[in-house]
Amino acid sequence: MNQTILECKNICFSYHNLNGETKALTNISFQVNKGEFLAIVGPSGCGKSTLLSIIARLLEPESGEIIFHEQENLKIGYMLQQDHLLEWRTIWKNVLLGPEITKTLTKQKEDLALKLLSDYGLIKFKDKKPSELSGGMKQRAALIRTMVMEPGLLLLDEPFSALDYQTRLMVSADIGNIIRASGITAILITHDLSEAISLSDRILVLTKRPATIKNNIPVHLSLSDNSPLAARNAPEFNDLFTLLWKEISDEYCGENC
């Protein structure tokens, strides 16, 4: 049942410029199981986004390897910090951007897009421009744009960080539920600890740069209702939060104390 879908082995990565080398990642190794929701937290600027870009094959690791166990060419969906909907396209044209680019736009894709739009309550806004939608709706449209590609693995790069606090709670709960319901494997990067606890099955804590894995914390919340908002009231929530907070603040203290 716990079938490994992705394995990172000793990933290292550095940025280079004429003033020298900045090591971003050193010896990062971890596995992700099928259907798992993994969160990665760490101090800001520690290289979390770099790691995600490497998994998404946008960057080549300097050493180490990424192994996709199920299929070599696993389709990867990527959600950026902002929705980046193209404002000159309608929502419909925006969600079909992926198939349009990869030239895989079929009737079946269009049907999928229609189904996702109606499932996520955006069908009425199909022919509207992004500027006519609220922040949360735009983020949902961005998720549909990713899901239309039917990815086997979903990467979320702080996808709620551009939203205001209230919208953020709503949208993260909303999107968390959607991802859970679809059973898709997901990796979420965030600096919001409560978001990590309420959404994920497991949390990886990274050290400050050059990042290594500091801790690997499974999240088991005793709840009948598995929604992210309810998760914040789970009895284990506070203990987990304190533990995570300590792990992260140790990293900051290393420099200042």
């Binding site: 950026l80 910090q81 951007l97 990869t102 744009r145």
Partner: protein
């Protein structure tokens, strides 16, 4: 219900009415004063000419210009000269737009190419392009080719630089989005860079159409037998100042018309999006 709505409407429209009234009054005053300046200027000019305060041989006068313009219309020379200048300007403008779009695209596509060519573009752009016109005459002879090349030379380098700068300013995260969806750099260009650069392209066109006209007139000064630039230079050599000033006025109208044309395109685009 209806009555309540009406009272609300009335209370709003009272201050709104006042606002609209003031707005229109302001607008009328501005238009009136604009016209007044023109009429005063023409009136003083005409009066000074008739009272021999200024020598109309050198300074001409509105009535003489009107008479000369009528003459030009009747013998058809207005159409030949204006037509050729317009034609040369539009061809220059189209070539500037085409060449600079292609060049800016190549520069955006290859960072190395843009690094290699940057100093040349900067030097060529800061060069006073009118200095090149005599060279073009030697290379291409007198005639329409020289004039079109002169028109192109004035705007092309600045146009390439400003389009390239515009392309570069496109949000990097939007490009990343295209890459995450499996697109290449070429896909990123036509799905993101080109559509989001349309405002830059349009404002660049506005600058180019004016500069193309400048270049064409410089070319006509030196290498033409037809066109408004030729009339201006010929008129000044044979002391036909009516011809010179009338041509300058026609040029003013053309410049304004061409600018308005691009403005209209911009308006169409804004309305559509």
């Amino acid at each position: 219900m209806n009555i309540a709505e009406k009272t609300v409407d009335n209370t709003i429209s009272l201050s709104q009415k006042l606002y609209i009234k003031n707005h229109h009054r302001h607008h009328h005053i501005v238009t009136l004063l604009r016209l007044l300046i023109l009429i005063l200027f023409l009136g003083i000019w005409e009066y000074a000419g008739r009272m021999k305060i200024i020598d109309t041989f050198f300074f001409s006068s509105p009535s003489m210009i009107a008479a000369y313009f009528k003459e030009m219309l009747l013998d058809g020379s207005f159409f030949t000269h204006t037509g050729i200048t317009l034609f040369e300007t539009l061809i220059s403008f189209l070539l500037i737009t085409l060449i600079s779009m292609i060049m800016a695209t190549l520069l955006w596509y290859s960072k190395t190419l843009s690094e290699i060519l940057e100093p040349y573009l900067v030097v060529l752009n800061s060069l006073p392009k009118s200095a090149l016109a005599p060279l073009f005459i030697v290379w291409l002879g007198t005639g329409i080719n020289t004039i079109i090349v002169a028109g192109i030379s004035v705007a092309i380098f600045g146009s390439i630089i400003s389009l390239y700068t515009g392309f570069k300013q496109v949000d990097k995260e939007k490009l990343k989005l295209i890459y995450t969806l499996g697109g290449s750099r070429i896909t990123a260009f036509h799905k993101v860079v080109l559509p989001s650069s349309i405002p830059v392209i349009l404002s660049n066109m506005k600058v180019n159409i004016g500069l193309a006209l400048v270049g064409v007139i410089i070319g006509e000064f030196l290498a033409a037998r037809k066109g408004l630039g030729y009339l201006i230079i010929y008129g000044s050599q044979v002391f036909k100042l009516n011809m010179v000033i009338t041509s300058i006025i026609i040029l003013c109208v053309i410049a304004m018309g061409l600018y308005q044309f691009i403005q209209w395109l911009e308006h169409l685009y804004k309305k559509k999006s």
